[in-house]
Symmetry: C2
Subunit: 416 residues, 2 copies
Amino acid sequence: MSKAKLINLVKKAKVASQTLGILSTAHKNKTLCELADALITLTPDILKANAKDLKVAAQKDMAPAMLDRLTLNEKRVKDMADAVIQVAKLSDPVGQVVEEYNHNQLHIKRVRIPLGVIGMIYEARPNVTIDAASLCFKSGNAVVLRGGSEAFHSNTALLKIFKMVLRRSGLNENTAVMVPFTDRKAMIDLLKLDQYIDVIIPRGGEGLMSFIKEHASIPVIKHDKGVCGIFVDASAKVEPSLKIIENAKVQRPGVCNALETLYVHQDIAPKFLPLLAKKLLPLGVELRGDPAVRKIIPQAGRATKADWSTEYLSLTLAIKTVKGIDDAIANIRKYSSNHTESILTENAKNTALFLNSLDSSCVMVNTSTRFNDGGELGLGAEIGISTTKLHAYGPMGLRELTAIKFVVSSHYGIRT
Amino acid sequence: MSKAKLINLVKKAKVASQTLGILSTAHKNKTLCELADALITLTPDILKANAKDLKVAAQKDMAPAMLDRLTLNEKRVKDMADAVIQVAKLSDPVGQVVEEYNHNQLHIKRVRIPLGVIGMIYEARPNVTIDAASLCFKSGNAVVLRGGSEAFHSNTALLKIFKMVLRRSGLNENTAVMVPFTDRKAMIDLLKLDQYIDVIIPRGGEGLMSFIKEHASIPVIKHDKGVCGIFVDASAKVEPSLKIIENAKVQRPGVCNALETLYVHQDIAPKFLPLLAKKLLPLGVELRGDPAVRKIIPQAGRATKADWSTEYLSLTLAIKTVKGIDDAIANIRKYSSNHTESILTENAKNTALFLNSLDSSCVMVNTSTRFNDGGELGLGAEIGISTTKLHAYGPMGLRELTAIKFVVSSHYGIRT
């Protein structure tokens, strides 16, 4: 795609965004319900497009996990439609007054407004197209979608349906536009269109993240990797702690809030680690430990320095013994990716120290890391989990897709 | 400065930042009061350093306005110390619980934490050194200061005093570090240290902004220009409206919240503009208008297209007639810099349309644009006025120098 064509496309989204902020909640919700209906009705079209992508993928010898993420079926389209209904049900953040006060002669309100145009960059999963489009729409934002090449036909079919629904609802169809997958040059061009796009939200691997970081002049809210950690304190209750670790590591190892690095207090290690091995090894978890761990768990492989900061996204767990709470905190600061950390303890002082000292997006006590998720934390739906401290840190819901402006009134007030 | 040396310096600030988040409010306030005292006691040292900068400036034939901003005297140092006391008096945002709720088996809090390390890039005014250092310190952040070369000696002397106070207070003196003014290469190196710096806050002209935007991989909260607009609606009360325009344009024309572009409803123009000219011309304001304006005000010069989006920062005012509220909104969307816009009107419908349709950081009704300022809007103190929608939009106070993390507890909760 030429730069001129790209600018033309993105400009259209910018124009569309300017009237979205004053759209009524009822109009938005009605449109979303129509989108959900249309997805169900047009499921055959979606699956036909998806079949084209799957055919290309088969020729390319795609990894099974990626192939699975790419694959749509009736059930998955139904899930997509249900998620859209869910977004319709959430309260509209636009226009919400977050603060209201008088100061001297002024009456001041702080009011939520859409961010404007959101650039969404993502890989394989076609459902992100509909998730992102519906969340951005409900929060009054236009969206520029740039999905992976492997899902091109599926994404095109899904967007076509949304555009049809927008037109039928009397709205600007450029509320959502798609940048066809193209070469790196076009991607770089896109990342520099700060005149038209207010924020880039990238979801993907490390390669994508560093590419975006290097080239974007548009502000970026990263949805980066989760090297999540759990610290088993000396006072931890053994049985429930084992259950939490199992849950955090095994329940769904391929996601960003799964456990990757376990820190165990040296005083509890001789008692705790054999029980942990007994629990995890039969579940197929590969353990990698420091020398102290390997003395206690002979089946554990040797962990290298790289293991402490690796996001495995698989059934592998790195285990490190620590001297105590301070050592655990120092290690987490050094190796974690600021995503999610949990302490397992019965010690109130250590709990406070852990929760206050660490600045990950979500810090927990006696809780599985798997709960760092928009739905689980009560946000209703999420566009992802931000690992950028600015603007939104942790799960981003509808509210996090807005900015806050000042609205000021007075009786012809002048400054002296 | 070599890249290795720069990294070493910034790393020290990062280490210092890790213990600032758990510093008590009392300790921080005591340190700030000692800083204020030290500034007064050591005023002679500061003025001696400032004299060196002024000597260099004199050789360079610096513009009078810039020379004025660079100049310190006893009164200005006293003002600086007073501002530090003011920051000490503000409530501490760190640790504030902004939300607390239960969701299923979880107890969830959202808690303010420091951003981490803030990179402050600014020009001429040495007082920014102390303002930024004290605001960052109070909000638990370490700061990397990079002031203009012209204030090098003044900034060095001021930072030296802060470091002395930090040491005496038992704190890490690298809580604030300074990058000596150097070549563009070192600046580019600095802008790419996203591993250590959490946000760049630049204050300065357009050249600086676009340079930073081009090179930064660190998130940037721009403090960009203010092309502020006022729309005089047909129903505006004439006398108070004239006073507001005078205030917005004349009271302090060199600042970002001063009025630059005036939009006048064509129906009120024949009555309003002659009175406006009568008010502003004797005050030395240069008027530039479109053909309709020039027919009514013969003394007005011709405005070119560039005038509608120019930040004069001087006693010049661009005036454009518009057909009505929609035309005014369309023009402001096209030409303003999203800083501050005000409508002067007695029409409630137009007020609502104006306040809802425009997404500038501050939208006002019957109020002077000069009020878009942290102090005036009740924030207590400000590090600047953000024109970036993300994170903080408009005046940034202490609270805007923090992020919000999730703190989650449960009774060994696992996800099913």
